[in-house]
Subunit: 386 residues, 2 copies
């Protein structure tokens, strides 16, 4: 008699969350121990409705396509489970005879994982619960970094280089690039690669530092005066000295998080109005987590590996753990995986180290020592003939 | 005694304009007939200042990097030459003893080319002038399509697919994607690939059709009600029934063109305010013409080939011509190049065929018969398990 496994996605997708799903399904098949492989349709929503997708018979060739399918192939949701919801979750697990539950998400999802596990134990269920880390924001604790971050960082870094080249080849405006990452500046920091790979002036603003608009404008004006083009990279979550979002929409998502918006456009507006400098704002938004052509090879390999590891851990009897990554930044990058208690990562947010932010708008090389192997195999190498 | 050649870029760069430059330089070197190879620093600005870059001795390995360098490696500008400027242009051509002049740009630039040529003839200069086509907007006449379009179209198409997958995997908001193309909808049309390659509802609005906002909102509401996620792709140049931009910035560029802006955000705003549907707008903007990972292989090959062809034509005595592309859409795509009089393409704008727009927001398969071979080798093939 084999095991029935269930995998679910929580929160925003990444470019490689489907690679983790591929790892789960292929490890379960390879183990020979899985009777049924289920996925929750639209994450917690599917679990609450008892709406599971049976992946047991899906052809191997379809599963392989997950490697280049962005977003979530099984659907996700932003619903945060309340205490009233957990009994319904347990009902679904019982109904389908689930023995192993894998929840692929960020720190909210690890909290969910932990609560499901505790309740299942109380109810006497034979359930093993393993968290699979995922977040482009890179704000999960304990793990060196999160699957999803490397690809989002590459997107930010390489897009910033490309915009910087455009901005300096046709220096008729300051180009502002707004990047995702509400509270953590990990992804936006990667845009500072443009300061290293191009001859454009690049200023990078992370949400960890409150913004003094007068100083920001003065710094941009000084950079603009050099005549080599200016790229200003801003996190969507930038706040002013009063701690309020530079450009809030006033909206709140299902987890109760405020939805920021329009920070890039706001910076563009003040450049035009206050300095009379022509400017335009670009906001790739969700493309920063969905783009397959900018996917990082290492990120995909790690996302696949954490999915496999979760299944192997559960089948060998582990529970209440999240898979985490240990990175080896030698001449050639490599990684190991280990397990960490869910309670250590639930609801903890890892911020960008303040000491890596130089003068409020430059990023220290230490960040790139950390991030480069996660996002790309080598530095972009452009021909700039001017 | 060899020839001195000058190449210049005009207007906005594309992902492959540097491939055309590579073609020019390599063809000039291969010919053995070029003494000096100059490039104008920042296009017409450099020509007017007599500020040329001497590329004659630049290593071949640097020239090869142009194939993956976005924007313009020699710089471009948006300055439209006036009658008062042309004598200065002729001075620079005389000063450097230029025999062949290549201007790489859109229909504005072909007009410039044509005027330079006419004046040079009047002044008795031995000058051959060949235009190299370039515009992501694809609005040049005579040529089947323009170098730069294929990559911009792939960017729009594949980004739209990726956003559509994200929008349908986590259907908490209508996702609006704003794409470049002021007057011509060629690039925005490519986003309709998402209606074919994903299971998301996709509505596509081109600038060729005036927008009835009430009808647009009703169509989006109907699509949203299906619960499978909605992607709305809009051209930056959309106008309302009154013929005015849906969201104008009131700014004008150096060619006197109005700068549109914020159409995507405008659609998002009316969805939230009038229908109470959560929505977010993404605007990759200049990334749509600068992205190297989304570059089209065919586009790069053609951009390189038109650069080479321009040099070969000039060296064989041709002048007053633009290189144009003849496409063969057989089982395997191929192309030929031919020369067309500059006067036939100067200031002519090729619009998107109205008969390819279905019900105001869908794109006919005929467009994809035309565009697919230009942008990608095969359809994206995603795993969608929901």
């Amino acid at each position: 008699m084999g095991m029935n496994i269930l995998v679910a996605h929580g929160g925003g997708p990444t470019a490689v969350i489907n690679s983790s799903l591929q790892g789960v399904v292929e490890a379960a098949r390879d183990s020979g121990k899985a009777d049924k492989i289920y996925a929750a349709r639209f994450g917690a929503e599917g679990i609450l409705k008892g709406d599971l997708i049976d992946l047991t018979q899906v052809p191997a060739s379809t599963i392989q396509k997950l490697a280049h399918t962005p977003a979530s192939a099984i659907g996700s949701c932003r619903r945060k489970l309340t205490d009233a919801d957990y009994p319904t979750v347990i009902e679904t697990l019982k109904q389908y005879g689930i023995n192993c539950f894998f929840y692929n998400g960020g720190n909210d999802s690890m909290d969910t994982c932990n609560k499901v596990s505790k309740l299942a134990q109380k109810e006497g269920l034979d359930l093993r619960v393993i968290g699979i880390p995922k977040t482009m924001d890179n704000d999960l604790d304990v793990t060196d970094h999160c699957p999803g971050f490397g690809s989002a960082a590459r997107y930010a870094a390489e897009s910033a280089c490309e915009l910087a080249l455009d901005a300096s080849a046709l220096p008729i405006h300051v180009v502002v690039l707004e990047l995702m990452g509400r509270n953590a500046g990990w992804v936006t920091a990667a845009s500072a690669l443009a300061a290293r790979a191009t001859n454009c002036e690049v200023l990078t603003y992370l949400p960890e530092v409150l913004i003094d608009e007068d100083r920001m404008l003065a710094d941009i004006e000084k950079a603009w005066a050099k005549g080599r083009g200016v790229l200003v990279a801003v996190s969507e979550g930038l706040c002013g000295l009063d701690g309020k979002s530079l450009a809030s929409t006033g909206l709140v998502d299902g987890f109760g998080h405020a939805i920021p918006g329009g920070v890039g456009q706001h910076v563009t507006d003040i450049l035009i109005r206050r300095l009379n400098i022509k400017s335009r704002a670009e906001k790739p938004g969700l493309l920063g987590r969905a783009s397959i052509p900018y996917l990082s090879r290492v990120d995909r390999e790690e996302a696949y590996a954490v999915g496999r590891k979760a299944v192997e851990a559960a089948l060998s009897g582990e529970t209440d753990r999240m898979v985490a990554i240990e990175a080896h930044r030698g001449e050639k990058y490599s990684f190991d995986l280990f397990l960490t208690p869910l309670s250590q990562v639930a609801n903890v947010e890892k911020k960008f180290p303040l000491e890596w932010i130089v003068n409020g708008n430059r990023i220290d090389d230490k960040f790139f020592d950390y991030a480069m192997p996660l996002m790309m195999d080598k530095m972009p190498d452009y021909a700039i003939l001017r």
